[in-house]
Symmetry: C2
Subunit: 419 residues, 2 copies
Amino acid sequence: MPIVVQKYGGTSVADASRIMNVARRIVETYDEGNQVCAVVSARGDTTDELIQLAGEITPHPPEREMDMLLSAGERISCALLAMAIDRLGKVAVSFTGSQAGIVTDTFHTKARILDIRATRLVEAMSDGKITLVAGFQGVSTAKDVTTLGRGGSDTTAVALAHALAADVCEIYTDVEGVYTANPSLVARARKIPVISYDEMLELAASGAQVLALRSVEYARKYGIPIHVRSSFSHTDGTWVREEDDTMESAIIRGVTYAADEAKVTVRSVPDRPGVAAYVFGALADANVNVDMIIQNVGEEGHSDISCTVPREDLVAAEQALRRVVEDLGAKGYTTDTTMAKVSVVGAGMRTNPGVAATMFKTLADIGVNLEMISTSPIKISCVIAEDRVEDAVRALHDAFGLDEEQLAVEKSDRAVGHD
Amino acid sequence: MPIVVQKYGGTSVADASRIMNVARRIVETYDEGNQVCAVVSARGDTTDELIQLAGEITPHPPEREMDMLLSAGERISCALLAMAIDRLGKVAVSFTGSQAGIVTDTFHTKARILDIRATRLVEAMSDGKITLVAGFQGVSTAKDVTTLGRGGSDTTAVALAHALAADVCEIYTDVEGVYTANPSLVARARKIPVISYDEMLELAASGAQVLALRSVEYARKYGIPIHVRSSFSHTDGTWVREEDDTMESAIIRGVTYAADEAKVTVRSVPDRPGVAAYVFGALADANVNVDMIIQNVGEEGHSDISCTVPREDLVAAEQALRRVVEDLGAKGYTTDTTMAKVSVVGAGMRTNPGVAATMFKTLADIGVNLEMISTSPIKISCVIAEDRVEDAVRALHDAFGLDEEQLAVEKSDRAVGHD
């Protein structure tokens, strides 16, 4: 019997009627002859409300207790969904992360899954029961409740799909799939029918929020096919899978942006070996997530080192840099929080060398200045002024023919039975 | 080092400032040189909100899932309280019922504690940590989350006090202790400084809501001294402990009432052996909690059997009685939901035979009719019309001199250093 793992996000279970809707979808899948394990996020704003409650108590809650607090949200939605399925006449059993056998390390608020001991899930599904798992959480090797950090429920779903040897991992969300650009920004953005793990990783890493980066890494590692789709319609969404010859080869798959960047620059650092290692070692020790780095030669024997960091890491970055400046005898540091990053992603650029030139020309044509550039074999990112990021996304989406391509792809879809 | 178990009810942790208040109390107790284990209920209306959410999904939620849902409330308050204590500079660790080692049977929504494996609590307290336990919940022998039913957090606290060999179990609530009558009904009701387990059991069973019946049973069984007191003041509350010679011997300790009674009567049942057993067997099978019973001889060879049940059990009772009437060939059954019960409780009535007479005369003097009467060695209860119950409580409180006695007790307090 095929095994389907499904994941429902917070907006899909936000109120009683949506929970009933999700219950019906799960029962449909079950009635089609599948064993079903559904991973559930916390309802709508529950997590934000819990974070606010903690904020009313203390500015620095202990992370172990934060995990105890936040894990309650998924338990609630999971139990409510089990009740909804019961009302539809099927037997569903809810499991906490711990009961589902999701064993993690002890890094609270951002734990990593070490092992999945899914015995209880397997037994329940063999008994004909629908299983529901509270997403985003596990139990540490020290037997404490842990949470998996941002996008944790996606990771729970993909990891369970692997542990259960599921045929597919369906990620249900409030949009129809992965788009060539954020549809609320680019009206003519189109849904991507199929995308490779590598491209999806780059999209997720450069700003696309529909699928969490870690879950894509996990899926790629174990070859789990992911189907990203809407819980409010029955249309096919986006399939994320291994790249192969049947996959349409777009030069550019999509355009993404991240508006929450900050740039920090350490001024006039002595230009000698080991300095960059010292600067970024200090930032890493402070748990600051550094993205792009550039180093400019400055006055005699000195250089400026710049990097981008998420804005939420800026306070930690500045703390670290104050010590760095003192230790290295640098002139000081500056910060700039008006930066954003725009990226184009596509496996086809490996064999199409003109992509970078097109990107830079497009941005130049609309008068956007490039602060930093970084590339991977299938991605080019530029740091630009935040107030131009929307213009930049629209111009790039147009320049790479993502609207026109839609027509071509739809035709070839019909011709070759693409999905 | 003395060990103190404390329990904080929902109103004591209703918002951030109250949680900080509770945290300060716990830290005070810790700083006085005690090991502290605090049991926490769900905040204010959390449990009601969760019940309402379930009600929006289905009228008959599966009990296992109800437990999964409701247990989330205590986890939230427990984690928030740990954060509050952390802010005060002390280390607190929160535990779910399962993590605290509270093992129950598998009767969801009303599980009973089978065993407490408090290893983790003992270790944490030995390490100098304050321990916090989510009340009202445990883990079943089938490894599912269970809840302990009404008053479950009181039971958690008393059971932990026993398991940890605590010196005292303090039950913090929003009133100053146990009163001679409900103070919102009887303005001159006074706080009872000390009361025996037996008297407290009768008070709790006959309507006093300050302490859950099961927790008192547990405390009596293991001789755990309970101190019921307010989380909003530092005054001594009510001590519940073994009866001994130092305890002031009141004839009547208090007057209680229960307004949620219903009376059911099976009409004209054949008067032969085994009939009463059959009627009450059927009610017991339907999980109906029968309180008082009377049987009246009726027409030749037949009798009427009446009993009182909680109003919330009435639907179940009627279902059972329809079958009983048919099986026994009785004339039918009637129900009356305008009944209430008023009780007087006091160990001193064992040696004071006039109590019943005083009670009946007092009620007669204010024109209250007695529908049923039941007695124990230390309690007399009367079923009366619901709309007279407040008058009855006030008249009895006055008739048994509970106001005057207050003055006498206060004097003797000063004389003998009563507490």
